[in-house]
Every structure is written in C-alpha cells, then in structure tokens.
Amino acid sequence: MSLSHSLPKKLIVLFLVFYFVVGVYAHFYIINQEEVYLLYSWDLYTKVPPRIQTEFTILIHEFEGKRLENPIIFERARGVLYSSLTEYRHSTYNKTNIQNIVRLLAPSIMHDKTKEIERLRMELEKTFLSHPVVYEVVEITFNPIERWKNGRFININSLGIFTSQVF
C-alpha cells in the first residue's frame, strides 16, 4: 500500500487545513465576539503597541471614607483595595473581566446611556469594588515606556466620578 495515498494521511492534512482555515476565519470575523471554542487563530501579541496609547481605566479617590492624597489607578491599588492576598488574587484572576467592563462602561458614560451605566456599574462594583469606594472612570493617554518608568500620563480625561454601592 502506498503511504502517499493512504486515508490517514489525507485525514491528517484535512485536519491541519481545517484548523488553519477556521483559525484565519476566527481572526477576521470573530473579533470581540464569542470565539469558536477549541479553535483559535493564535493571534497573540501580534501588533507592536503604539508609542502613544489611549485606554479607559478607573482611578480610586476614596476608600472607606478615607480620601487618598493622590488618586491610584486600579492596577496599582492592591494595598488600598484589598485587605488580604486571597481577595486580591481573586480580583486579579478576574482582571480581563474588569478591563472588559470598563471598556464598555466608559463609552456608555460618553453616550449617556443611563440603563447601561447602571448595569455595568453594578457588575463592576459587585465584583471588584465591594468596599465603599469613590472612583473615577477616566480616559488616559500615555507613552507606555514613560508610564512604566515614571507613572506619567500625557493626558487624563475624566468621564465621571461614582461612589460604589455596598452589595
């Protein structure tokens, strides 16, 4: 039997082609939507991040009635927001989720979508800001290298200040 014409070989080639084609499809057509489970484009760290970046995030102004001298960006607020490492780990385990929520919340505030703001705020506060916190949703512009070295931002655009409900 010639190996070059065997059925297993054709099946393996078909499998590889199928995975590749669906992966490419997923890259172009399933952006920000549900992924095709178990199939992936492997589009990881593809683009070099720009030298000037803009993103939405939250600044913590007040924690349990205590006003902070300098507002702290959420990613650096561990010592303030979480009393234990377990609690902190739980929040960072959900890190991608918080970014996703803020990415939806900020445009909702900009477009004044009251119901959507309420829903997203509840989701955000229930999971990540369960203590009484005054926080600000902001749009920050920065050079990533400067931000990492000196914590400097080029611009901070305030979108709204909120006080978290205690759930």
Binding site: V24, Y37, T92
Partner: protein, 346 residues
C-alpha cells in the same frame, strides 16, 4: 500568443521563470510527506515514537493532580459568572460545586486510566474526555484560556494511533500509520506557532507601511514589554523586562528571532534534522516570554520535549552541515551560493 512576444518579453519571462523556480524549489522540496514517507520506512523511528507516546499519558496524571491546586481559584470564580461550554452541557442540571468536583475527579481517574491503558483506544478516548471536560470547565468563566488547547487536540489525535504496541501487531502498514499520527501531532503543534508567526509578519508589514512602530522598530520589544507591565498585577514581576525597556536594542534581535522561529515552525515538520533545535528555540521563547512580558504558556513545553527533542524522524547520522542546509532562508541562501560560483566560473 507566444509567437508574437518580443525578445525583451522573452528575457523578462526567463527571468520571471527563474525567480519562480527559486521560490518553488524549496517549497516543492518540502512538500508534505516527500521526506516523511522516506524516513517512515525506518524501523527505529517507529520504535522511538512507540516509546515516547506513553510519556504523554504518564505526564497527564501529574497535570491532572496539579490542577487540583487551582481549585480554590475556580471555586472563588463563583457560580455567578459560570457559563458552561458545550462539553459540560450537563452542568446545568447540577450544583456548581458538584460540577467542579465531578470534572476534577473524572480528570484524575481518566488520566490514571490512560497511564495504565494507553495501549487501548478506549483508554486513550477516556483521557481525551477527561482533558476536554477540564478544559471546558476552565473556559466557562467568560474568558477563554488557550493554554490547554494543545492538550485536548493531541489527546484527540492520539486516539487514532493504531494498535501497534505488541510484537504481533507491528505490520509495516500499522507502523506507518502510527508514525503518521505521531507526525500529525508534531505538525499540529508547529502549525500553532506558524499561525502566530504569520499574523506577526502581516501586522509588521501593515504597521511599517503605515509609518507606525512595527516589529522591525528597534524599540518594538520594549513597547511590548512596557505595555504589558503597565497592566500586569503588581505582584507579578518581570525579571528581564526592565532591562529591555531601558536598553531597547537588546530586545530587537530576540524579537526578530521569535518571528523567524514561529513563522517557519510548520516548515520544520518536514525537516527532521531541525526538530530538536527548533524545540529548544521554542522552549527558550516561552521562557523568555514569561521573563519579559509575563506571558505564561508553559503548557506547550511538554509537547516540545516529548515530540521534538528526541524526534523519531531525526536521522542520528545527519551532519551539522545538513542541519544548517535545512534551515529556512539561511539554508536556501547557502544552497544557492556554490551553484552561482560555478555558473560564474563557467
């Protein structure tokens, strides 16, 4: 039509055909299975592959046991955001904590079954179910983790290994099929890397043409690292990241090397002499990615070790000259150089 073309057009066509041949030759030489079919005739390749496969099932037991350590995270994640993926459709009918228990216990039992009964297709199928259920549970919390994808797919591929374990069942046909499935697993792992490399090349071209920072920019890696470190939890530290941010040139060549390694990975499936070197390169890439941007994909490393480090298809008699000649781009360039010299001399 051809009768009416001018001498200039003829020259142009000749040059065009020459260029086409230059591109087509390395591709046609590496066309699927031309080399693989040849090396699959060797008995030692089969014996080696047959020895390697059980390690996948043995190691899976350790993996399943270590997954229990992750239980607290999954429990904390909570029922609130639990959205079961299709492989655990039955989770809708049970309590959340019961689902977690069932999946983890089944995963451990399935891998133990695999360790003892990997020679039987049913045993390998149970392992596949075990890892599939675990993978589905792990991905049922809103965010998709692709770290374990490779385990599911390789477990699936290995189900199709033929019964060629006992000495009475080692017909040439079964041996070839066994090696074919093994090669399929290798090719699949390499395909993942090539896909990742392909997007990087496309993105680099697009960003370069748009005048943006791209993969060829000297500060490209430091931009990657600083962007990632800005969003990483403060408990995570990057050992090499600060060094590259402060000295961006140090990161330029490694980034180009990563893109080269990833992009040509699938090609390496047809170049057994490079299997072990490529595996080493990709392992170093994973270690480097963790030490710089904190990207952890260590789940891929066992496959690079099992499948490639002592690849059954690698000819132990292959010289280092052969290995260099097989290198993508460099090998092709070296292959053409002597021919050009001879042509010039004539």
């Amino acid at each position: 039509m051809i009768k009416h073309i001018t001498q200039n057009q003829k020259n142009y066509l000749t040059r065009f055909e020459f260029i086409l041949q230059g591109i087509a030759r390395p591709i046609s030489k590496s066309f699927p299975f031309q080399n693989i079919s040849k090396i699959m005739r060797e008995n030692y390749a089969f014996e080696k592959a047959r020895t390697i496969v059980p390690f996948f099932y043995y190691f899976m037991v350790i993996v399943a046991l270590y997954r229990i350590l992750d239980l607290s995270n999954i429990v904390n994640e909570g029922q609130r955001i639990f959205a079961p993926r299709w492989p655990i459709f039955w989770a809708d009918y049970l309590h959340y904590l019961t689902v977690i228990d069932i999946v983890h216990v089944f995963f451990i039992l399935a891998t133990l079954t695999g360790a003892f009964f990997y020679r039987h297709r049913a045993g390998r199928f149970i392992v596949f179910l075990g890892i599939l259920e675990y993978h589905a549970l792990r991905n049922s919390f809103g965010v998709t983790y692709h770290n374990w994808d490779i385990w599911v797919w390789i477990a699936l591929l290995f189900i199709f290994l033929p019964d060629a374990w006992g000495s009475a069942h080692k017909s040439p046909r079964k041996r070839k099929r066994f090696l074919l499935v093994f090669w399929g697993a290798q090719a699949f792992v390499l395909l993942m890397y090539s896909m990742s490399g392909m997007w990087k090349i496309i993105a680099a071209a697009g960003q370069y043409l748009n005048g943006e920072a791209s993969a060829v920019s000297f500060d490209a890696f430091s931009l990657h690292i600083s962007t990632q470190l800005n969003i990483l939890p403060e408990t995570m530290t990057s050992m090499l990241g600060p060094l590259i941010i402060n000295y961006p040139l140090l990161g330029w060549l490694p980034l180009i090397a990563i893109i080269y390694l990833q992009s040509f990975s699938f090609f390496i499936a047809f170049r057994p002499s490079l299997h072990s070197i490529w595996a080493l390169g990709l392992i170093l890439f994973h270690v480097g990615a963790y030490l710089t941007i904190g990207a952890e994909f260590f789940q891929h490393i066992p496959f690079l070790l099992f499948l490639f480090l002592d690849s059954p298809f690698r000819d132990p008699r292959a010289s280092w000259r052969q290995t260099i000649a097989d290198l993508p781009i460099f090998g092709w360039i070296l292959g053409y150089l002597p021919k050009r010299n001879i042509t010039n001399a004539v």
